[in-house]
Amino acid sequence: MNKDTLLIAGKSYNSRLLIGTGKYKDFTETQAAVEVSGAEIITIAIRRSNIGQNPNEPNLLDILPPSKYTLLPNTAGCYSADDAVRTLRLARELLDGHSLVKLEVLGDPQSLYPNVVETLAAAKTLVADGFQVMVYTSDDPIIAKQLEDIGCVAIMPLASLIGSGMGILNPWNLQLIMDRVQVPVIVDAGVGTASDAAIAMELGCHGVLMNTAIAAAQQPVLMASAMKLAVEAGRMAFLAGRMPKKFYSASPSSPTSGLIN
């Protein structure tokens, strides 16, 4: 049997779990969670350096070296296409020309719901500029298809709002997206616990990206481990092909003949 890998922009990954690095207690916890999760693609944010602070304070890139992980710079906090493009150009310079990025353009600070109009505009500019764009978007299948047509290398619909932990609210829309796009579909945002991740994978999603579900758990490192197993279990169940749901089975698992009368 061929090894089951996740193929994004021509590169294969063994892990289908992608994780973020925000909200952890400290870098030690970040590093431990990343390690046990088995994730190979790790999101990071780009922010102004703190002028005048200790220049020797540890840098995230020291504990998560780009030589070991595929770092995926994001545009979290951007509310316009221009800001997102600007952020990712800085990221590319920071990471020595690395072009695989996560685009997200938000619509409002309370819901953090994506602004798909700005997202489409940013995606066009970035793809034309040579970026390989993994794009966070709503679960609208028409927008997802348009993002693929622009040239995005992965479509990453929300399962529920960022940081909400509400789980997979609309599996049918995820299915509509998967039926329409050829590039990997990765659930990004909304996963709250291991079963949510497993459900996403059982639906046939190619991967799951999460941050808060791990970082905000009582024991983040243990949850990172749980998520690794959940994504693997969900993927295997998808590949195995589940039995059809039936209200009545009328087909017991044990033989119906040879009963002792």
Binding site: I44, R48, I51, P55, L60, L61, P73, L90, A91, E93
Partner: protein
């Protein structure tokens, strides 16, 4: 005397120093940063040649934890 905005904070310099010298003063030499000057990326290779000018706006960014 020139005034330069660095990450939104105005700083004054007696002479038009190079970007490399500025980073050295800020103890950022060799650190993992990216720099934008007046909205344009300034590649690392040009830090030595580029002199700061009055009114320049610099943004210096780093990688931080994020989802």
């Amino acid at each position: 005397m020139i005034s330069v905005s660095i990450n939104g904070e105005v700083r004054q310099f007696d002479n038009p120093i190079s970007v490399a010298t500025l980073l050295e003063q800020m103890q950022l030499t060799g650190k993992r940063i990216a720099l934008e000057r007046n909205g344009q990326i300034l590649p690392r290779g040009q830090f030595n040649q580029q002199l700061l000018a009055d009114g320049d706006r610099l943004e210096i960014v780093v990688a931080v934890g994020g989802g």
